[in-house]
């Protein structure tokens, strides 16, 4: 697909070009939306919000950076705005975990080995629960960094934050998560289980 040509045509109001761009950008937008979806919004609603913003601002796209970078930034900022309104979830306890999440915590506490591949879904759910106790910005940063495997430079491009802010924020957010996880692992000690 000739992306620059499609952008030029879409800017002139060509519906076919807009349709082609939508299909081309959909997987990228969906992956950002799925990674940063607030609890109160559906995936489809947020995807529509992102695309509406993309097409509304398409005239502002100068073409100096790849379209995908620009779209990624618009998507991340839209998700961040949606997340800002979301309240931070208070700390959760051992009793709040599902059975699968309990297994993950037990395995983390009992061994230094990597988690079993069949525990990955439980691990993802547990990470989501842990992330919900962070502020929206911190939550997004750790998702980008650890779940999507983005580099600091890529996060800088996507969010507009400077490198030192990203590093400091990531460090502090990780510290918070580490404390939460350690607390959960301590709750899983035999003395707690005996109660």
């Amino acid at each position: 697909m000739d992306v620059p040509a499609a952008v030029r045509r879409a800017k002139r109001g060509d519906e076919e070009a807009a349709r082609a761009l939508l299909a081309h950008l959909y997987p990228l937008v969906l992956s950002v939306v799925r990674g940063h979806l607030p609890r109160r919004l559906s995936e489809e609603d947020l995807t529509q919000m992102v695309f509406t913003k993309i097409f509304t601002k398409l005239d502002q796209f100068s073409g100096t950076v790849p379209l995908e970078h620009w779209v990624s930034r618009v998507a991340v900022n839209t998700c961040l705005n949606a997340l800002q309104a979301e309240k931070i979830r208070p700390e959760f306890r051992w009793a709040d975990l599902t059975e699968e999440e309990e297994h993950v915590v037990k395995q983390l506490a009992s061994t230094q080995e990597e988690l079993d591949p069949d525990r990955s879904l439980g691990a993802r759910d547990l990470v989501e629960k842990l992330l919900e106790t962070l502020k929206p910005n911190d939550r997004m940063l750790l998702r980008l960094l650890h779940m999507e495997g983005r580099s600091v430079q890529e996060i800088r491009q996507a969010t507009g934050w400077n490198v030192s802010l990203i590093k400091v924020r990531a460090f502090r957010a990780r510290q918070k998560l580490k404390k939460q996880l350690q607390r959960l692992m301590k709750e899983n000690t035999p003395s707690h289980e005996a109660r």
């Binding site: 109001g13 799925r34 990955s120 692992m185």
Partner: protein, 100 residues
């Protein structure tokens, strides 16, 4: 590396490897909604709307101007006359004091 860091990193690695939901194409309904919103905000359409608003504004302004001119031509303008300017000017001159 501290044990807490290690556990957190292992947790993140396992979570990142979790299979994602597959969906590579937008649903027709979503596609239609997005394109409808986009067309509604199409700049060409906005320009047409702005042009029509501008035309209406010009027509209204012209009508108001015409009515004002007509009223000013037909109406009694005696109340608009200022007090005698000649006497005011003379009074102000008489109050001037000569320089030493």
């Amino acid at each position: 590396m501290k044990p807490g860091d290690n556990a957190l990193d292992r947790l993140f690695r396992a979570a990142a490897n979790a299979p994602g939901q597959e969906s590579c194409r937008p649903s027709p309904a979503l596609q239609a909604q997005i394109l409808a919103t986009w067309q509604h905000r199409n700049p060409a359409e906005e320009f047409t709307v702005m042009l029509s608003l501008f035309r209406r504004a010009v027509a209204v302004a012209a009508a108001v101007a015409a009515i004002t001119v007509l009223l000013s031509l037909r109406g009694d303008d005696s109340h608009l006359q200022l007090p005698a300017m000649d006497s005011m000017v003379l009074d102000s001159v008489s109050e001037l004091t000569p320089l030493p």
